[in-house]
Symmetry: C2
Subunit: 158 residues, 2 copies
Amino acid sequence: MCDAKKGHMRHAVDLSRQKMDEGCGGPFGAIIVRDGTVIAEGWNNVTSKNDPTAHAEVSAIRAACEKLGTFDLSGCEIYTSCEPCPMCLSAIYWARLDKIYYANGREDAAAIGFDDQFLYDEVAKPMSDRTLPIEYVDVPEARDVFAAWDAKEDKIAY
Amino acid sequence: MCDAKKGHMRHAVDLSRQKMDEGCGGPFGAIIVRDGTVIAEGWNNVTSKNDPTAHAEVSAIRAACEKLGTFDLSGCEIYTSCEPCPMCLSAIYWARLDKIYYANGREDAAAIGFDDQFLYDEVAKPMSDRTLPIEYVDVPEARDVFAAWDAKEDKIAY
């Protein structure tokens, strides 16, 4: 294990400690790195900002995208103090990050009350088997909008 | 199907059309409803705000939480013009919404270039089988932070 990786991970872990101590939210930190340089930091702000999506990884992605002026973080990597939950993992795909480094695992998170495994299980289920009810509402105009997107000549793909 | 559900869904679909036409991002809209009242709206802002996490559902959740001053949307429901991707589905769980209503399905999204199924497949895989590389970095301090959270007496659970 090269020292640079450990150094970046310590940065993410230090953030998780510092922001937890400051009362921002849960004990999670993340940084985005490109070519060895730290582009942005993120930490859990769920309870202090009243934003259930403000996990460390999502926050780091938002900060990096704002800094670089892009929605595409290809060429960047993320160091997170804990294995991402399905929301953050999906956000990492959408942001097109190249690689994830993590320290604590989902079982470590479960041991302190963050049951990401439940969410991994739910997301993988057919919608009818999930605990969260979901219902189809037939509004044909919805398909018209998709057709309009498909035909739109000036759209920006992402 | 009661008219109220169709009415709320038309609201979400109208948003998807309007914001797509305004160039905000992809053709997706969502609203959060509590006791029949619309609490907040959201739409896709990925390309206009350079935020890959700014999907309609995540944006609606953020807006509703900001308006209500809470990170817990229990008692609220979400109407989304398209079945949520795994990021948004997970965000809906984290926000503790009671129910999801959707119009277009993931296969409709795939037909116009939004391949949520790929992401559903990836999230469900063991990490070693995913296309996105992930690597464990052993930094023991990470576990110390989790232990500190576990012992923290003034923490706010979420």
